[in-house]
């Protein structure tokens, strides 16, 4: 496991314990968050019934509640029932996520390629074992049919399966004897911290296009799921943790414009993957809390 910088973790713990809502949520696993979201969507209870959960952040291997003051609701599109609230993460929280990814990079980069591949062998098995729960989460927060949701997950699973081949995929090249007693070898080295910004329309597939190949090649990651459909990504991350991803290798922040600009500007981040667009009229925007990034 990579060394954990106390300076990264301690402020987060302080932040979380200082927050009034943290005591119940931070200690609960994302499984319970996901399960409660599904239960809420299926129940007929009025919307005023108890606490709609805030979607946690993932920083240095811990699921923590944001101290955000602004949130975006996650609705079931068939009913408008609010499933959860996506926080717009604070600058400190986003900074902590990037610091955590940066701190985890040297050790992860030097983890053998075989062991990096093994993480994804375990991960693909966990995705298969949790297919039903993930499909229900996708349907709840996105709206698509359950069969279609299974396809959404499966197309992402195929990328995870491919990541298991990273031992061959990341091979470099060699030419022996380019001159007297001289050989040339090339390596494909990871970049450092990479980031992904995902759209709403494939809650599982598009995030799975992004972080598995980045992490398999030896990078560490900061993922920003769509604020409209963050629950599936949280469960995907929880399963990656269960598969044994070291702390700090996978991090998740939430937000909109400020989060996107943070990822574009943070000097530690070397590469950004983005899928989406924002097909909203300017005149629509005032009706939304903030602009939702969507895959066109």
């Amino acid at each position: 496991m990579p060394s954990i910088r106390p300076s990264v973790v301690a402020p987060m713990r302080r932040m979380v314990t200082a927050h009034p809502r943290s005591s119940s949520l931070v200690t609960k696993s994302l499984r319970s968050l996901a399960a409660r979201a599904v239960t809420r969507a299926l129940s007929t209870a009025p919307e005023s019934s108890p606490a709609v959960p805030s979607v946690p952040l993932l920083i240095n291997g811990e699921f923590v509640e944001s101290r955000a003051t602004a949130f975006v609701p996650v609705h079931d599109p068939a009913t408008q029932r609010v499933l959860a609230h996506t926080p717009l993460a604070t600058q400190d929280e986003m900074r902590a996520a990037v610091d955590s990814a940066k701190a985890a990079f040297p050790k992860w980069k030097n983890t053998s390629v075989s062991n990096r591949a093994r993480l994804f062998f375990r991960y693909q098995q966990l995705l298969r074992e949790n297919e039903d729960e993930l499909a229900h989460l996708i349907t709840m927060e996105h709206g698509k049919t359950l069969d279609d949701a299974r396809g959404d997950l499966f197309r992402g699973l195929e990328v995870v399966e491919h990541a298991c081949s990273i031992t061959s995929l990341q091979m470099g090249e060699t030419v022996a004897g380019v001159a007297t007693a001289t050989d040339v070898t090339s390596f494909r080295e990871p970049l450092g911290v990479c980031a992904g910004i995902a759209p709403f329309n494939f809650p599982a597939m598009v995030p799975l296009w992004m972080f598995p190949m980045a992490i398999a090649t030896g990078n560490t990651y900061v993922m920003k799921p769509s604020e409209r459909v963050p629950l599936t990504t949280m469960r995907l991350a929880e399963l990656l943790k269960e598969a044994g991803v070291p702390n700090g290798v996978m991090n998740i922040i939430h937000g909109q414009h400020d989060a996107v600009n943070f990822l574009c500007d943070a000097p530690e981040i070397k590469a950004i993957s983005f899928v989406g667009g924002a097909p909203l009229k300017a005149s629509d925007r005032h009706r939304l809390p903030l602009l939702a990034y969507e895959c066109p």
């Binding site: 992004m210 989406g276 009229k281």
Partner: protein
């Protein structure tokens, strides 16, 4: 979104520009307007089923959805069957068995989709199947848009120039395969396209002349598996590396090339010339 729909790419362009200005690699998949070309010799029933699935699945909210059907010559005879099959789809919550068209993502998306349908009708398109103001029993608050077909669409219409991203299939008519290819290549996006035909020669001509990065032959949504990459092209991508597959390895790694000299006898001559490998 402006009348040409280009502002749909604003987020990706912003990230590409701002990330790039900060020295980062960026890969950004943007918009798409995918056309399926149908030739007269295509198998009618399997083609119509493929078009309905690719046009209305996920309520059209896929960046590889078929949102435009280009019927060549006699293939326009397929329109009644297309309408009939689309009309038979069930609209409802994704958790209900047998539902074909789920809700669209937000109330704002529903408003936008319906506005673009109306713009198409006002511009002269016909609407043999109209899914506006759709109701689903028991779900009064859902973001419902029923299956919609706009026919007689032309490329100057606002509905054509925008990515509707809803359960709306736009039908265009042309006389020849060459015209169909010209129409697709004039569209600014190059995410995907498909042709339905039994002619190998026509399919080969299409696959070689059409300027889209993902082409299906009798396959409506040709999204490659990860031994390949997602290879949308032209206006559908900013950046030099594709998502997943070998493209993802290239994107997430940098080359380091090591040149090593291990002579058994030490070279002692001084040379001030630019080193060359000898």
């Amino acid at each position: 979104m402006g009348s040409d729909g280009r502002s749909g790419d604003a987020a990706g362009k912003h990230i590409y520009d701002r990330g790039g200005a900060n020295g980062k690699r960026v890969q950004a998949n943007l918009g798409a307007q995918n056309h399926a070309v149908v030739l007269e010799d295509a198998d009618p029933e399997s083609t119509v089923k493929a078009l309905v699935a690719a046009g209305f699945g996920a309520a059209g909210q896929r960046c590889m959805a078929i949102s435009r059907v280009v019927l060549v010559g006699g293939a326009q005879a397929l329109v009644p069957r297309l309408v009939e099959l689309a009309r038979s789809l069930t609209v409802g919550p994704g958790t209900t068995a047998g539902v074909g068209i789920p809700p669209v993502v937000t109330p704002q998306a529903k408003v936008r989709i319906e506005r673009l349908i109306t713009a198409g009708v006002e511009a002269g398109a016909t609407i043999p199947l109209d899914g506006r103001a759709y109701k689903v029993d028991g779900y009064p608050n859902g973001n419902w848009v029923g299956p919609t077909i706009l026919a007689g669409v032309t490329t100057d219409m606002e509905c054509y120039r925008n990515e509707i991203f809803g359960p709306v299939l736009q039908v265009l008519l042309v006389n020849t395969l060459d015209e169909a290819i010209e129409l697709i290549n004039a569209n600014r996006y190059g995410n995907g396209t498909a042709i339905f035909t039994r002619s190998g020669a026509a399919a080969r001509k299409f696959t070689h002349e059409v300027d889209c990065g993902q082409v299906g032959v009798n396959v409506p949504i040709p999204v490659p598996l990860p031994m390949f990459s997602f290879t949308g092209s032209r206006g559908s991508i900013l950046g030099d590396h594709n998502f997943y597959g070998k493209g993802a390895v290239a994107f997430h790694t940098k080359w380091k090339t090591v040149t090593s000299n291990w002579r058994e006898d030490d070279e002692r001559a001084l040379s001030m010339a630019m080193p060359t490998m000898k």
